[in-house]
Each structure stands twice: as C-alpha cells, then as structure tokens.
Amino acid sequence: MKKYICPICGYVYDEAKEGVKFEDLPDDWKCPLCGAPKNLFKAEAIEVTKDEIKDEVVESSETKEDLREMSDLEISALCSSLARGCEKQYLDEEKELFTKLANHYKNKAQNKESSDLESLISKINEDLNINYPKARKVAEEKMDRGALRVITWGEKVSAILNSLLSQYQNDKEFTKNTKIYVCDICGFIYVGDEKPEICPICKVPSFKLLEVKRGA
C-alpha cells in the first residue's frame, strides 16, 4: 500500500484508506481538490530528485538589463504588474495610466516566433526542466523568500498548463462540458464545474478564481 501525493495542492491519495490501488484508478481520474490529472501524482516513497541541476557553478551572467533589451511584451507585463500594484494601494489614476501603457505595448509587440502548439509546449517544458529549477537554486542560495514564493507558484501553474495542453492534444474538446476558472492572483487554471473554495496553489479565497466564459 502506497500513498500518492498531488504536486499541486498536496492532496494525499492513500491506497490503504481508499481501498483502490492508485494504478487501478481510471486514466481520467483527477485530484479531487485541484483537478490535477492522475499522471502528475507522485508516489510518496520515491524521493523526487530535486536538483537535476547539480552543483555546476552558477554563472554570473548578464548585468542589469536596460530598456533596449526589454521587449515590448516585457514592458507591457511590467506596466500591467505596476497597474496591479497601484490598484492595491487604491491609486486609481495611476492604475489607469499603467494599464494604458500596458495595452499600448502589448498591441505594438510583433509576433517574432512561431506561434504553434509545439513551440508553446516546448517553452513551458524549458521553464519546468531548466528555468524554474535553476531559479530555485539561486533563490535558495540567496535566501530570497519572495523569489522562492513566486517560483513555487509559477512552477505549479506551469505544470498544470503543461498537463492541460497534453490533455488537449489527446482530445481537443476535453473541456467541452466543463467550466474554466483562472486564479487572478497566481494564474492557476481550474477545469471543472465547482471551483475549489480556495486556490490550491496560492490559497486565495475562491472569489479570486474568475471564470473564463466561452464565446466572450
């Protein structure tokens, strides 16, 4: 008898309690709390080898970027991030101005790379396999709690995106009979009818899980 753990929300599937072996669960079985698919679950006994990125010296690379190296998309994301910062402080006028800038740069941005599903999946995998583990290692070394937080949340959200895309590859209509919610704080996507009471990743209450309507 083993236990299997949801990597997204920490839910534990205990074979002893459930009376059904994990491997005997149907393939479309999902985490009852967060909707993570079965194939993301890890057996408890097996220690997840944490750092594929071994002790290679962390190269001190590029210095502080200046604007010329910031793409229009990055400028846009920074502006919309600052707009949210202003909103938190109830600075309405500032929020509007940043939002306007964010939209301007977003519309201005050129499509430079190929925009197909394969490149999307390969980018997400690059994050999951290389960028997040490396960033985590550096953030741990520098004891940057804030960075560790954003890395942990982002890594989990990216894992969910990755699994959604592989479900989509198997069945383009897998979301046909369900709703979709996006957590407005961390970006977690919940596919299902009843949204969870709190976001399984960032733990914000459910009113921040916003439904993305079809045909809107």
Partner: protein, 165 residues
C-alpha cells in the same frame, strides 16, 4: 510614523454603520463607497469603529524595497521572457481559432502566463510603484518614446508617484 489614510474593503463593508458617524471630516461618506482620500486626515477613528474590520489604515509612504540579488533577478527575468512569449503564442492560437472551446482554453492559458509574468516582476524588483526601479523604468520609457500622448501619460505617472528612495 508616516501619514496614514483609511481605505475601505468594499467586499466586506455592509455600508450601514457608524464609521460615517465617527469621521471628523465626513470623508467616509461618499457616492463611490470608497473613502474620500482628499478629506481623510488619517485619524483612524472609522477603522476602530467598524464592526466588520472593513477599514484599514495604509501608509502614504512605503519603506524602501529590499535589495535584490542580481543573480536572482537574472533568473527571474529569464522566466519572464518565456512567460510573455507563452502568453503571446497562446493568444495567437486564441485569435486564429474559430472554435469556441479552443478559444476559451487558450484565452485562459494566455491569461495565466500574463499573471505569472506580472508576479515575477514584483519579485524582480518592481513590487512598489513608488520605487526607484519603477522611476528609472519610467524615465527610460519616456526617453525612448516618440508618441506624444504616451509621453504625457508617462510624465503624469512620474509626477503622481512620489519616489520613496
């Protein structure tokens, strides 16, 4: 301690009690439901009188941002670069699709990536709109921008946001 002002959480406020009564300047009673910041003198009376914990006192000036390590920032920036591209790809798929089910999924994915990029920026030194980082960013943006209307907006922002460092 720096000057404070009262803000009301509209999700909690029941809009019917004594914060209106205790406010010495009438700042709590407005058509928008939010407190009139121009009138608020930051005395905190409304916050103490509120039975629902709906009013907080927030500072006008925030403390300086903690110094971030360059290596951490470099790695977070790398993630940001990918997240905005992922957003763009998902959005292109969304735009090019005629299928409502597919559109809904890729719109959600685009949104998730934007949110992650925004969050990464907060930890990469841009938590506070009043920070020196933000100020320098806006100044560079102003310099390289040719669009008159946008220039005016950026100048407005630079004037409105008092830098705290």
């Amino acid at each position: 301690m720096s000057k404070l002002r009262a803000v009301r959480n509209l999700r909690i406020c029941s809009k019917d009690c004594l914060c209106l009564y205790v406010c010495p300047t009438g700042a709590t009673d407005t058509e928008t439901g939010q407190i009139d910041f121009a009138k608020c003198i930051g005395c905190g009376a409304c916050s103490k009188a509120c039975p629902s914990g709906a009013i907080s006192m927030v500072p006008y000036q925030y403390p300086k941002q903690q110094i971030k390590d360059e290596l951490v920032i470099t790695d977070l920036n790398k993630l940001i670069k990918n997240k905005v591209l992922e957003e763009q790809i998902a959005e292109t798929i969304y735009k090019n699709s005629n299928d409502e089910i597919e559109k809904q999924l890729f719109k959600s994915i685009a949104r998730a990536n934007r949110l992650m990029a925004e969050d990464l920026y907060r930890e990469a030194g841009y938590m506070l709109p009043q920070s020196k980082n933000t100020k320098e960013f806006l100044e560079r943006l102003l310099e390289e921008n040719k669009n008159i209307e946008l220039k005016t907006d950026i100048e407005k922002l630079l004037n409105l946001l008092e830098c705290n460092e």
